[in-house]
Each structure stands twice: as C-alpha cells, then as structure tokens.
Symmetry: C2
Subunit: 406 residues, 2 copies
C-alpha cells in the first residue's frame, strides 16, 4: 500500500497568496466594476529591461538554426552567467567567489524550498517571524517543523520574533539551533540589519556550527550605506552561510524565472559522527540530479542585466519602485498610520488601526478601499496586526491608492 | 551543529553523464583533432520547431511592453497550455482529463525527482533495471533505497530486471512494492510494453494499492499500433498512475525546458491508518510551494507545438530521428551486432561483442571509433554488457558513425 508523506496533511491546504487571490476573485465577482488596485503579492508591474528583451530575441534566433542551437546546458548554469554574477554582484564588493560556488536556477522559491534536501531532518530550524511562508511550509513538509499548534505555530520550529518592541531586530535564540533562515532586506517588514547586527548571526553560527540560509532577494533595493548587500560582506560568513539571490524583483523576472544560490566551497555541515562535509558538493549532487538547468534564453536575459545598458535599465526600474515606496510611506504617514520599511526594500509594513487583526484589516481595505494588501498574519504570528503594502505597482495606481487611504 | 542528510554521502559523487563527459574531454585533450561523434547523452541536435521560435519571439515582445507584460503566472502552468495538453495529448486518444490534473514544470528530471516529496520514506520502491539513474538517485537521497551493496545495487530497492532472457519485459515483483517506476518506451533499452503487458502492472497496482510512476517522455516516438502512448489508455490506470511527459525529446526543448505531470483527481495513496488521500491535492501543495511556474515565454513555445504548423514540424523532427534509428539498427545489424529497440524509441540497445563489459566497450568505441555511446551498466546492473546508441544526432554523423562500425 502506497503511503503518503503525512507531513503534507498537517499543513494548511492553501498557500497564503492563493487565499488572497480567492478573496479578491470573490469581490470581483460581486462587484465587477470595482477598480481594484493590487499591492499584495509583490509581483512587479514594469516590463523586462530592454537589454534582456534584446538578449532573449537573439537567443531565440539562435535556437532556430542548427548551427547555433543549444540543447542541454550545464545544470549549474552557463559559465557566461556564472561569471557575470561573480564579477558584478560579488567581486565589485570585494567578495571572493568562484564560478563553481554559483548555482543558477529557475527561482529562489525553488532554491529556498529545495535546499532542505541536503540537510538531516534532525536539524533544529529557526525562522524569523514574520517570514516568507515557504521556509515554514517546506520544513513542515520535510518533518522538521514538528506538529502544528493551536496558535498556528509549529512545535519544533524556533521563531525569531521581529516586532515593534525589538525594532524588528530579532534576538539570538536562547536554545541551540542548526539552520537559521534570515531574509534581509526583510520580506515582509521591509526592515534591514546593519553590518554589526548581521555579524552577531555570523558569529553565532560559527560558534554553534550552524548554517545561515540568507535570502537576499531584495538586496538591489538597499539605499543606505550601512546595510550589507551580501552576507559574505561579513567576515567569516563564507564558512557558515548559503546565500539566495533572484532576478525576479531586481530585474522583473517574476514570469521569466531566474535566480541563483551561492554555496561556498569551504562551507561545511556535519555527519552525526562529527565529520565535516562540504555542502557545495552535496548541493551540486542535488542540483544535477533533480534539476536540468535554467532555460538557455532566460540565462541570456539574466546575463544582459549586467551589460552597461542592462545595469542602467535595472537601476531605473528600482528607482521607480523605490519612488513608489516613498509615496506609500508618505501617504500612510500623513494618514496617521504607523509604518516600517520602504527605505531599503519595496515593502511597507503598516500597523492596522485600532488593534484590528490582519485579516480583518485586509478585508476592510479590500472592500472599502478596493486595495489588495497582504495580511501580516499570513507571514507568521508576529505579523498579526499588520498588513504589507507592495511598492511594485504602477505609479498612477500607487498615487490613487494613497488618495484612497487619506 | 548542522547535520547533513547522510544519504547523500552514500551515493556516487558523480552522475553518469558527468563521468561520460569527463572521459570524452580527456580524449579530446589527448587528440584535439579527433572527429568525435556523440551518440551518448541523448541530447537532440535539430533546432526548435519554427512555430515555437515564432511563439517565443512574440511572447518576448509581450514582455517588452507594460500593457502585455506578464509577471508571476499560475505555478501549475497557464490554462492555455494545460488546455492544449488535455485536448491534444489525451482527449484525442479518448482519455478524459481535466486541466487541474495537469502540472506544467521545467522538466521531467525535476518532476520524477521531486515526486518523492509527497510519499512516505517507508514505501517500498521498485525500479526497472536498467533504468533512468534519477529514479534510483533521488530515492537514495530520500532514504528509500537503503544501503549501497558491493554489486552497485541498493539494499532496499526492488529491481525489475529487463534483459534478453525475458525479452525486456520485466516480471511482476514477488514481494509487495508500493511505488513502481516504469518508463515506456524505455530509456535506455528502447523497448516497449504492449497494452496487455502494461495492463498487468495496472492490475497489480490496483490489487496492492501501489502507485505507478509512469515516465512517458518518449511516447512521441512510438510507431507501432499496439504500444500505448499513455498509461491512461489502460482501464483503471487513473486510480493508480502518475504520468510524466516532456517536450524535451518530442520538440527539441532540452535547452528550453518544459514538461508536465499528470496527477488524476481520483488517484489515492494512504496514511498509515489506511485513510485514502488524493495525491492531486498533495502534489498541488508541493508544486505551488516549492516551484513558481515555468517561464511564460517557454509555455508559449510549448503551446505552439500543438498548432497545425507546430504539429507538422514536430512530426518531421521525430521522423528524422526515427530514420536515424533505422540507419543505426541496420548498420549495427549488418556489422553483426545483437540489437534491441529503435522502433518505437530513439534509442538502440546494443550488445557488446565477446562479452566485453559496458565501460570497456564504451572506452573501446570512444578510442577506436571516436564514438560516444552510453555504457549500459550506468543504468543499472542489468545494463551490463550493453551500450546505448542515441538516434538524436545529425543524419551525416549517424551515417558516418555506422560507416565506422562496419
């Protein structure tokens, strides 16, 4: 008799953003003429950079002809892209990185979900609360989360609370943890850690032989100088951290799909007997066995974001979104809301008025203002009482949304 | 202390095709002028169908403009593609299938590897021997394979031997198994099962509440009428089978990346207590949590293979490769080799002469004939003494290869 992985029936059957979509669809059916503005899921609204479009057109033409056609590529990504990543995202910041430490993929959702494959289910996992639901759900699927509790948490996860009282800077865990998910600039709160604050985590990991799973999907939105773009800017991080990066938000690749993961060669985890094993080799085995490479044309599109034109186009997109973020910050502040984030990240974390719950406030904004946000509670218990506004919309929608919030 | 998944250190560090690439590179360095012909990995050599190229160019143009830009799509794939799949690959064969039973992905290597996530590690797994290495490796990673033995097998896997003595039709297992990987038309042997032979497996699965994981990546190459294209042609299969399909070999998408997996709504597996759980819901949760959809432009390229022009172009490609297969069959037969396959599949399974081992014969063909094949032993113990010839090369290379084999 075939047995299911019973961890799957412990987790809620629907993903956060599916539930939001369901409620939005319902409103749309009830009020077909409602001018709904979407500031929820965090999808981008500007088209692909011209440089990427041109590169994809060229690559597609190559696929038309026998002489230039490309079949299977290296599962880890083409050298042209891995090299561009090393040079532009790391060497320019003084971080040493070799091509074989870069694994190109179809997205950070896949990578942050799949990375668990190479780790024992016996590891104690810590996640920031609130946090990206994929960290929790994928650990629950693997059996590392334990059992769901009545309050919506999991019995075996350690929650690193980030809230108003600690200025969204989570304290180091009091119990020993082995795998630590950190996302900075943070999704959903839009807050960051300074170099010194991040260094504490690197030091913790070095002391306890823990691994930091550092999700830097929003690094391109950093505007302040003391905020690290890569965890490898912190001394010793190469020995304890895996870093996830994505072209999705940076260059509008949410529907085009490209990301990458850094697994340094000297990053070790351990057997039960205490033998150190290089994770680069393990992830390479996973990546080459359960993945067959990112589409060639997409890799060319990603490479083009590093050309001089591509860089300028990407910068202009990010500036556009960060101007939206400024408008949202200003609009919500003027309207009397308590807000966080939006300076080094495209997300604004807004406190629901009068102690309303996240979902109630989400429903209120949807029904009364026709605005789609993301309820903070969907990101974890510490997100209760907040909603997330995304700055990825079009300018006119952002302005209109703030008019409605006045 | 972070612990690794120790199953990873039990498996050989290199994937079969990486080892082949290493040996080929070595020869190339020693003899830079050697005219090497690659009939190994099974990568295609013809460019993408024109219809797919045109569709990608159009979709890329859409991504250039704000009004037509597409960001995140449905993780399960766009309706336009799921609908085309249902109508063209299933309804035309009298198989009922709904869109929500189709999950579009970036490749069957990902899908056949990731499908294990939704199953308990306690399931007893059977795989055909020889077979696609991903089935074995991914079950080893998950801990279902047990321990490696001295003969290269795994202690906890059940091997369904397909060899000359049983005409490459594996017998039903004598011990009870829960998950059964079947690949037909078969990789690597190129052999098939008739309807009656496949029905025995469906009946077995129904009787034992097992699940068939049916890899139909090569169905488009079937030329004989009694060979089922889909397992769902067999009565009752919807209750016991998951089917994997790919555009890689069918339409030259090896570097473009698109595939799909069918999980029927009435397909059940069980909790330890014997409760039936719909696998469609579980796979949907997995797919939406650890994957973020296939690139939009790639889905448009896949859709185009179902247009009238696309169908004709795909058919022409398949005919080209199957003519190669005929040439290889004829060439090897004339040269006195014992061969199998190549009639309903693009692979020819050739017996090494004089009882040579697979790897020895592989090395012989590489050094003496400058031909790259795939050693049968790389697909499992029962592949020993054989090599696989791929028909995916260019015509002139295929003819030249057969000249060298005379």
């Amino acid at each position: 008799m075939s047995l299911i992985n019973e961890n799957f029936i412990k987790i809620p059957s629907s993903y956060l953003f599916s539930e939001i979509a369901r409620r939005v669809n319902q409103l749309q059916q009830e009020q077909p003429d409602a001018a709904i503005i979407r500031m929820g899921i965090g999808d981008v609204s500007l088209p692909l950079p011209e440089a990427s479009v041109e590169a994809m057109l060229r690559a597609t033409e190559e696929q038309r002809h026998r002489e230039t056609f490309r079949g299977y590529g290296p599962e880890q990504g083409y050298d042209f892209l891995r090299k561009a990543i090393c040079e532009n995202d790391y060497h320019t910041r003084g971080i040493q990185l070799e091509m074989d430490e870069v694994f190109v993929s179809d997205g950070s959702k896949s990578d942050t979900g799949n990375i668990g494959d190479i780790f024992s289910t016996a590891n104690k996992v810590a996640i920031t609360d609130p946090g990206y639901p994929v960290y929790v759900d994928t650990n629950a699927m693997a059996g590392r989360a334990g059992e769901p509790t009545e309050t919506g948490t999991w019995s075996n996860l350690v929650y690193l609370k980030a809230n108003e009282s600690n200025g969204f800077v989570p304290a180091l865990p009091t119990e020993k943890v082995d795998l630590i998910y950190l996302c900075y600039p943070n999704n959903p709160t839009g807050t960051t850690l300074t170099r010194d604050q991040l260094k504490k985590w690197v030091d913790y990991a070095r002391e306890h032989k823990s691994i930091l799973l550092f999700d830097a999907a929003y690094e391109a939105f950093i505007t302040e100088p003391d905020v690290p773009h890569s965890i490898y800017e912190i001394e010793g991080a190469r020995e304890v951290a895996i870093e996830f990066r994505s072209f999705s938000k940076t260059a509008g690749f949410t529907g085009t799909r490209c990301a990458y993961t850094i697994v340094p060669r000297n990053l070790m985890a351990y057997t039960k007997n205490g033998d150190a094993i290089a994770l680069n080799r393990l992830w390479n085995r996973r990546h080459t066995t359960k993945f067959n490479g990112t589409s060639y044309i997409v890799q060319r599109a990603a490479e083009a974001t590093y050309s001089p034109e591509g860089k300028a186009q990407v910068r202009a997109m990010i500036n556009y979104y960060m101007e939206n973020a400024r408008i949202i910050r200003e609009g919500l502040s003027k309207a009397g809301y308590t807000i966080y984030g939006g300076i080094n990240a495209p997300y604004i974390w807004a406190k629901a008025p009068q102690g309303m719950s996240s979902w109630n406030y989400f429903d209120y904004l949807l029904k009364e203002k026709k605005l789609v946000t993301t309820p903070g509670a969907g990101f974890g218990a510490s997100g209760e009482g907040f909603v997330r506004f995304s700055a990825f919309g079009q300018r006119e929608d952002t302005l209109e949304a703030m008019k409605r919030m006045e």
